[in-house]
Amino acid sequence: MIRRHALRRILTWVAGFVVLGFRELWAEAPAASEAEGAGEGPWYGMGIDVEKCIGCGLCMQACKTENDVPAEPHFVRTWVEQYVTQTDGTVAVTTIRPGEEREATPERNVLHSFFVPKLCNHCANPPCVQVCPVGATFTTKDGVVLVDSKRCIGCGYCIQACPYGARYLHPVTKVADKCTFCYHRIEKGLLPACVEVCPTQARVFGDLRSPASPLRRMRRMHKTFVLKAALNTEPKVFYSGIDGEVR
C-alpha cells in the first residue's frame, strides 16, 4: 500500500516536470523569423562590401586588442580570407596574417581574387543558442548573440553547432568566446572596433530596423547575400560582391 502510494507520488512529480518542460519549450520557441521590420528597438547587423576590402588585416588586430583575444592566430573573433580563383576554375583560400608580408597575386592565370572578412553572423535563428545546455549563449533584445562567461560550462557544443567556425574555446578562461559586435562599445553609441578601424569602410555596422542607418543604406545600394543561407540560421552579416565559392 505504502509502495503504491509512493509510486503514485513519483509519477505525479514526473508528469508535473514533463508538463512544465513542455510549457517552457513552448514559451521559448522562437518566432518564425525576426525580420527587420518586426519588433521595436535596434536590431543590429553588419554589412560587408567585399569590393572595398583590401585585406590589410587591421580589423583582426583591432579586434584582438579591443577584446583581449589570445595573440595566437588560431583564436579569432574575426578574420579575413583571401580567395584566388584560377582560370581553370581551381580556388585557393587562405587566411591572411596581419603584418605578414604577402606576395602580390600573380595576374597570369588568375580569374579573380578578393578578400572576405568573416565574423560571427549574429544569426536571428542561432544554432549556438539552441544547443547551449545552460543558456549561457543568448540573444540580446537588440539581436546580438553573446556568451555569459560566468555561466558557460565549456562543453563546446556551441562550437560544434556553429556552421561558420566563428567560435573558439578561450584557452585561459575555458569558456566559449566569439565576436560580440563589441557590445561594450555599441552600448555607448560607438562602433565595433573592426568597423572603426577599417580604412576603406568595407565594414558597415548599423541597426537593421532604422531607415536612416548606414547598413540600411548599404543594403539598398547593393545586392547582398548571407553565408550558408540553406541552413536557415538567418545571419545578420550581409555580404555584397561575393560569389558562390565563399562558404
Binding site: 517552457e24 588560431h74 560550462i153 557544443y157 562558404r247
Partner: protein, 409 residues
C-alpha cells in the same frame, strides 16, 4: 596559455591540408568524448540483452541476466565521468540539472541519465535481488550484512506474495526499461545527428545507428565478461546460453551493418556539397579507423567467424574461441565507430575546403592515459558489484531454503 600548447597548435596548423577556418585548428571534442558514447552504448546494449530474458522469455540467456544488469550499472556509473572531465568548467556542471535550457538536446542529459539510473536500473536490480539479499543477510556478518540490509531497505519479507510482487516489479520496470534504454542511447545519437552545421553528423539515421551499434557492443561485452568471469570463478560456461547470445549478436551485427551501409549509400547517392571533402577524409585520415578497423575487422571478420559457427558443426571449444575472437574484434570495431563519428566529424573544415588533424595527448586531462583509465574503471566497478551482489546463478538461495526460513520465522 602555455607556450607548449601554442606551439602544438602551430604545429597542427601546419598539418592542415587545404583551407580550414582559423578556429578549427583545435579539435574541441577529444578522446574523452569518444569514450562517452562508447560507454553509454554498452549500458544500453547490456540492458537490452537483460530485457530479452524477462520480456521475451528467452530462457537460455537467464544465467547472464544478473550479469547484464550489473554490467549496465557499472558502466552507467562511469559514463558521465568523461563528460565531466572534458568540461572547461566542471564545477559548473550542476547548472545542467538546476537551470537547463530545455531547447538544448544536451540539457536533457541530466534527466535521461537520472531516469535511467534511478527509475530503471536501480529499481530493476532492487526488485531482482531483494529476495536473495534478504536471505543472504541471515548468514552474514559485518559490513556486508549492513550493506545488504540497507540495500533491501530493511525489508525482510520473503513470503510468496512479496516475491511475486518483486517479480511483477521486475517485469514492469523491464517494460519501461526497453524504451528507456532506446531513449538513453538514441538520445546520444541525437546530440550528434541534430547538428545541422556538420554534414558528417547531421543525419536522421544517427540515433538509430547509435542504438543498433549499442546493442551490438552491449551483447558482445556481456559475452566477453561471461567468458572471462565464469571460468575465473570456477564455473562452467553454459553453451546453450553462449550460443543464444552469439546468435543475437550475429543478427544485431547484420542490422547494424545494414543501417550503416544505408547511411553510406544515401550520402554517396545524394552527393551533397560536402561529399568531396568527406570522401577525401574517408580515403585518407579515416581509412585505417573506418575502413580497416570499423568495417573490416569490427564487422566483416566477426560476421564471417559467426557464420562459420552457424554453418559448420564446430565443436564447443573451438566455438568458444571463435566467439571470443568475435566479441573482442567487435569491441574494437565499435570503439572505432565512436572515434570515427566524434573525431571524424571534426577533421574536415566546415568550409569543406580542407582537413585538420587530431593529435591525441598522452598525459593531461584529455589524454590517452585518462581515457584508458575511464575504460578500465567500469570493470573495477563491476568487480565491486560482483562482491556486493553476486550474479552467479548457483549463489541464489534455493527455494527450500527460503520457504524453510519463512516457516521458521
Amino acid at each position: 596559455m602555455t607556450p607548449a600548447v601554442a606551439a602544438g597548435l602551430g604545429d597542427l596548423a601546419q598539418r592542415v591540408t587545404g583551407f580550414a577556418y582559423p578556429n578549427e585548428i583545435e579539435v574541441h571534442w577529444s578522446i574523452l568524448i569518444v569514450c562517452y558514447p562508447y560507454l553509454t552504448g554498452l549500458v544500453a546494449g547490456a540492458f537490452i540483452l537483460a530485457s530479452l530474458v524477462k520480456v521475451f522469455n528467452v530462457r537460455e540467456v537467464q544465467p547472464v541476466y544478473r550479469l547484464a544488469l550489473l554490467t549496465a550499472l557499472a558502466f552507467l556509473l562511469i559514463a558521465p565521468l568523461p563528460l565531466l572531465l572534458h568540461l572547461g568548467h566542471p564545477e559548473r556542471s550542476y547548472e545542467i540539472f538546476l537551470t537547463p535550457q530545455l531547447r538544448s538536446a544536451m540539457a536533457v542529459f541530466g534527466f535521461v541519465y537520472a531516469w535511467y539510473l534511478m527509475v530503471v536500473l536501480l529499481m530493476e536490480i532492487w526488485f531482482e535481488y531483494r529476495r536473495d539479499v534478504v536471505l543472504w543477510t541471515r548468514n552474514e556478518r559485518g559490513p556486508l550484512r549492513w550493506f545488504h540490509r540497507a540495500f533491501a531497505l530493511f525489508s525482510s519479507d520473503v513470503g510468496p506474495r512479496a516475491v511475486a510482487a518483486d517479480k511483477k516489479g521486475v517485469k514492469i520496470i523491464t517494460v519501461i526499461g526497453i524504451p528507456s534504454a532506446f531513449l538513453l542511447h538514441g538520445y546520444v545519437g541525437f546530440i550528434f545527428g541534430s547538428v545541422k552545421a556538420n554534414p558528417w553528423w547531421s543525419s536522421v539515421l544517427m540515433p538509430i545507428v547509435f542504438l543498433m551499434s549499442a546493442i551490438v557492443s552491449g551483447i558482445a561485452l556481456v559475452i566477453l565478461i561471461y567468458m572471462v568471469a565464469w571460468p575465473l570463478r570456477g564455473r562452467a560456461i553454459d553453451m546453450a546460453c553462449l550460443d543464444r547470445m552469439a546468435s543475437f549478436l550475429f543478427y544485431a551485427v547484420i542490422v547494424d551493418f545494414t543501417l550503416e551501409a544505408l547511411d553510406f549509400t544515401h550520402r554517396l547517392y545524394e552527393s551533397e556539397e560536402s561529399i568531396k571533402i568527406l570522401a577525401e577524409m574517408v580515403r585518407g585520415k579515416l581509412f585505417i579507423s573506418l575502413v580497416v578497423i570499423q568495417v573490416l575487422l569490427g564487422m566483416i571478420v566477426p560476421l564471417g567467424l559467426m557464420v562459420i559457427t552457424k554453418l559448420l558443426s564446430v565443436e564447443a571449444e573451438l566455438r568458444k574461441l571463435l566467439y571470443f575472437a568475435s566479441v573482442i574484434l567487435i569491441q574494437i570495431g565499435i570503439f572505432s565507430t565512436r572515434w570515427n563519428v566524434v573525431i571524424g566529424g571534426q577533421l574536415f573544415s566546415k568550409s569543406f575546403r580542407g582537413l585538420t588533424t587530431y593529435k591525441m595527448e598522452l598525459t593531461g586531462i584529455e589524454g590517452l592515459l585518462i581515457a584508458v583509465t575511464l575504460l578500465v574503471l567500469p570493470f573495477l566497478a563491476l568487480t565491486v558489484l560482483f562482491r556486493l551482489l553476486p550474479p552467479w546463478p548457483d549463489d541464489t538461495p534455493r527455494e527450500a531454503e527460503a520457504t524453510g526460513s519463512v516457516a521458521s520465522s
